[in-house]
């Protein structure tokens, strides 16, 4: 795979066409029908959750949210391959991967409602909180990769970044360190053509992103990120390659952010309807559904029923999140240090005194 799709050849790994037809049997991954169906369902769940979250935000029930709409095949593929013991070091647009790792939707909601608990991921093993400063997380992935090698563990690190993120110095340093250390890290760049309003051609003059692997002497591959099978194949082989001690891999997943950057963004300001339509035909769910239908594994009716169920489940979790309750004062203090300095203790006491005074003075109308 790495040879045939050497980035220097400027070829993108694609296995399924826009109509869900397998056009590249040679690289078709070895994957059960049931597994494919399961993957589709998870992608559908993610999309349904994504849609509903955007509505919740419109209703003013959460503060902000970065939609995954159009990019679901990427996390969808990782979700099928990533194991409990593997690490996930996310950016912030990989909902399907979070859920696969053991995060609950409720937690995802909590974060965007403004609770730190939303990145605590109680039941998820080896899942680092989202990193807001773009590309900075990639270095954490490499450090974790070092530990895996150091302790000779059977693990791999999956880490994500956007096309915009490849411009940051930390992207370079991470790939370079990973190359020197031969760290078992799979770097997945979701090239969704935009960094907020900035189009990919203004991010870099290189021919795509996979080619950047040459700068680090590591493997790279450009993949149709809207093609579930291509992503599955690429992630699977990359993980095996990395785990075998060969070093990191850079996967460029070519996709499109069909939604807004976040719920406070309006893409119509900076891109055309034509462009959006062009990408619409490549929609990852449409394509995989066409495949499933052609294999008689799935019907539109199935989808309707599923979406109904999903919506209930999502709403249930959302309401749970909404009822999470209040945020105690001590929570802003107690996680800053392992052993809380006197200063913080005193500041907490001071605040409590002030609150008491406020209550009293309001009651007595002072």
């Amino acid at each position: 795979m790495f040879k045939e799709y050497d980035p220097i050849k400027n070829k993108m790994l694609q296995i399924m066409d826009n109509d869900g037809k397998i056009i590249n049997e040679k690289f078709m991954p070895d994957i059960d029908d049931s597994e494919v169906l399961e993957a589709y369902k998870k992608m559908l769940f993610a999309r349904t959750a994504d849609n509903m979250t955007v509505s919740y935000q419109r209703q003013g029930r959460i503060f902000t949210y970065p939609p995954n709409y159009g990019q679901e095949a990427i996390s969808g593929a990782v979700a099928r391959i990533m194991r409990d013991e593997d690490w996930l070091v996310p950016a912030f647009r990989e909902l399907g991967a979070y859920l696969a790792k053991g995060a609950s939707l409720k937690e995802v909601f909590l974060y965007f409602m403004g609770y730190e608990e939303g990145v605590n991921f109680k039941n998820a093993k080896n899942f680092v909180p989202y990193a807001v400063p773009i590309a900075s997380q990639l270095l954490h992935a490499v450090g974790i990769g070092y530990e895996i090698k150091y302790n000779k563990k059977d693990q791999v690190v999956y880490t994500f970044v956007g096309d915009g993120g490849t411009s940051e110095g930390d992207f370079h340093e991470a790939l370079n360190f990973a190359g020197v250390w031969k760290a078992p890290v799979v770097f997945i760049v979701q090239n969704n053509q935009y960094g907020i309003s900035t189009p990919f051609r203004l991010q870099t003059a290189s021919d795509g992103i996979a080619i950047k692997s040459y700068a680090y002497g590591i493997k790279g591959i450009q993949v149709d990120g809207n093609d579930f099978f291509a992503m599955y194949k690429a992630v699977k082989e990359s993980a095996e390659y990395a785990k075998a001690g060969n070093g990191p891999v850079l996967i460029e997943a070519v996709t499109y952010r069909k939604g807004a950057h976040t719920t406070s963004d309006d893409p119509s300001k900076y891109r055309t309807k034509e462009e959006e339509d062009e990408w619409d035909v490549k929609d990852p769910l449409k394509r995989l559904k066409s495949y499933l239908k052609s294999q008689k594994l799935f019907t539109d009716k199935d989808e309707e029923t599923l979406i109904e169920d999903y919506k209930k489940e999502i709403d249930r979790q959302f309401i749970e999140a909404e009822n999470f309750g209040s945020y105690p004062l001590e929570d802003i203090f107690k996680y800053t240090y392992g052993d809380m300095p006197d200063d913080l203790k005193q500041q907490m006491v001071e605040h409590e005194k002030f609150i008491k005074w406020k209550e009293v003075s309001q009651n007595t109308n002072v």
Binding site: G114, G195, I196, Y327, I332, L344, H351, F354, K358
Partner: protein, 326 residues
Amino acid sequence: MKKVMNMVNAINDALDIKLKEDRNVIVYGEDVGVEGGVFRVTEGLQKKYGVERVFDSPLAESAIAGTAVGMSIAGLKPVIEMQFSGFANPAFNQIVSHVSRMRNRSRGKYTSDMVIRMPYGGGINALEHHSESIEAIWAHIPGLKVVIPSTPHDAKGLMIAAIESPDPVFFMEPKRIYRAIKQEVDEEKFSIPIGKAKVIQKGTDITVVAYGAMIREVQKAAVLAKKDNISIEIIDLRTIYPIDRDTIVESVKKTGRLLTVHEAIKTFGVGAEISSTVIEEAFLYLEAPPKRVTGYDVIVPLPKGEHHFIISPERIYYEILRTVKY
């Protein structure tokens, strides 16, 4: 001629005036071009002045600052945006090692007299890293000037002054009041000197020093304190460095009491410098220990916890009472 403006309009207006007047002025940063910035501060400027003068850069803050160093050396006047002050962090090395030092290093042959603008501060229900207030850090770097406006009028005048300054200016915009305060602002060009604080309310019992979004909160606290007949002198610092010690000291010599208010954390913050100044220069006039009302020494909480952190007019009023009754 005057026009009603909020702070976003006012800064946009200042940039517009300088872009029109001086072809060396160049505006760039992440999403400042077509989009006009995530807070729309640069809206419309690319259309007016073209993509060579107002443009989107790749996503890399060290490069935004570092290329601006080169541009200023070559004679341009870059006005760069950091999308949020928390994202100026990757540019720390370029700013500390070069922006602030090029003049000194080259004994005046070259300068890096750019303006580095950024929204800063809390109170808008934002995610992590979007609510920081680390002005004390930037103000601790010799060679930089740090400006924080509290009104649309000041924002415009100070931005004009910043662009015309021979030195690099950190221009920190309190995003919480980007659109919250509207005001009649002169449409013509005018500037407000950097390095001068302003007494915005005269008083006799206590001096309260603040800046940025906190000014409004102090004003509200002053209203609360009225019923106790406490007369408050409010100083809007406007510039964090060079800090206007004279205006503060003169005021405290009169009132005998000082309270500094900032949303940044307390320890090693701006308030410490102000208290120290007053004690060094007005020791014998003090009737109570200078105090600080500040954010607590923790990481700014996510929105649901922010109310514990953010400073309310009541908390300021409470500390005013404690100081006055000392």
